[in-house]
Symmetry: C2
Subunit: 260 residues, 2 copies
């Protein structure tokens, strides 16, 4: 059975109008479906208001104890529950989850090598049966970028990775269409030209674009996650603008990835 | 089938050791079961750190827009998700919910009469079928004191009331044992003597204790909710210390209420 896993980026979450447009389109996608959301700037802003400094290394947040509490509040509470309430008002039976809820995504605290990322989780296991049971109850999981450890710690976890891992787990029983929605129309061949969308990207052309420097740093972890999902059984992966969700779900917008 | 609905008060949530002891006991109660939690002082503290003033009228928080965001972060995020992760680590398959999740508790924004309570919800409907479906999937709902409106607003809602309303909804199909756990050993006949526990309270003796002033203000809304639950089909209601959960679940601690 076909199933959509949709990741929505933080820049859309941060913009109430763009977010409302996106939620309207997401609510209209056929079920079963799963939404994974990033955090946006609210966590950084809230941390700043609380006098906590945000440290980033290579685009990833360093999560000390105080910052873990902030992301738990903002991602798991403020952002997640507002998305759920807005989807419910659009007749979409959303249920907000972190990885801890129903034990759906367990992780281990990232080992310290060169950098101590703090309370950051590397995913260890997805509880596919529990996810299927929720979908079977006609629920639409809305997943925040938090996981948990065997010891009962919450851990900050990259949302792109969560989307990829959930898509792979659900691909065991479904034909999964994974869509990464953000504020650009797709993967761009020129980072300064928003219209220069690459309609189809293979592993081979991805390597070429990386070598030429056309695909820039921020996109690389996202695309690595996306190709990993394809390798692991996801049927289609598309990177698109949040406003283009409907067309992209039909394969008519954004950048569609393929292995060859 | 027997089912426990357990409310845990904010003063226990605020104390990490007391909370851990309680969670260990809750994890060991037989399923199906539901946990409802209050917020504790963390919301007030977080609001203060963010420069938001907390206004209380008759023990109820006035929830303006900024305070709604704080309670959504603290109750729906920080408190709820930490309880869930700690229960998962104790092999209890917890799932954290607000009323918005799965549309389980819908409310209306309280009409303004003498006092404008702000974003506070009066409960309108409980989605019993959705709750039963979650319990049927062997999940243990952990419910934060937030509900949602048809318009997609989150609304602050009293946790004692949520516990009572959920217990009543589940009493349609279960023999429900509702336990209010807090930092006292039960309802006291003398508010200054923590050992003066009233073992059994009827509607009649409740009226007498109220008339004599022995039962003090803070207990009255809790007891009104509790007696309402009994009237509406809940089998047993007990008010007890969080440390006494196991004994109280067996009818051997705390104050047990009965209609006559």
């Amino acid at each position: 059975m076909a199933l959509f896993v949709v990741k929505i980026g933080g820049n859309i979450i941060d913009n109430p109008d763009a977010c409302a447009r996106f939620l309207q389109k997401f609510a209209q996608l056929p079920s079963p479906k799963v939404l994974v959301h990033g955090g946006g700037k609210v966590a950084t802003q809230t941390a700043a208001q609380l006098g906590i400094e945000t440290q980033m290394v290579d685009g990833r947040r360093i999560t000390d104890r105080a910052m873990l509490d902030v992301v738990t509040m903002v991602y798991g509470g403020l952002v997640n529950k507002n998305l759920v309430a807005q989807l419910q008002a659009r007749n979409c039976n959303a249920i907000g989850l972190t990885g801890a809820d129903g034990g759906i995504i367990r992780s281990v605290k990232r080992p310290v090598k060169d950098i101590d990322y703090g309370f950051v989780g590397d995913i260890e296991a997805v509880n596919q049966a529990q996810l299927e049971a929720l979908l079977h109850s006609n629920l639409v999981p809305v997943v925040a970028p938090l996981t948990y450890s065997r010891e009962g710690l919450l851990l900050n976890t990259n949302a792109d990775t969560i989307a990829s891992v959930l898509a792979v787990a659900l691909a065991v029983r479904h034909s999964v269409n994974l869509l990464y929605c953000f504020e650009k129309k797709g993967v761009l061949s020129d980072p300064d030209d928003d219209e220069a969308v690459i309609p189809a990207l293979t592993l081979h052309s991805y390597a070429e674009y990386k070598a030429s420097g056309a695909i820039v740093k921020g996109m690389i972890p996202k695309l690595d996650n996306a190709f990993k999902a394809l390798t692991d059984g996801v049927r289609r992966v598309t990177i698109c603008h949040a406003d283009d969700l409907e067309a992209a779900a039909a394969g008519q917008a954004g950048t569609t990835l393929s292995l060859a």
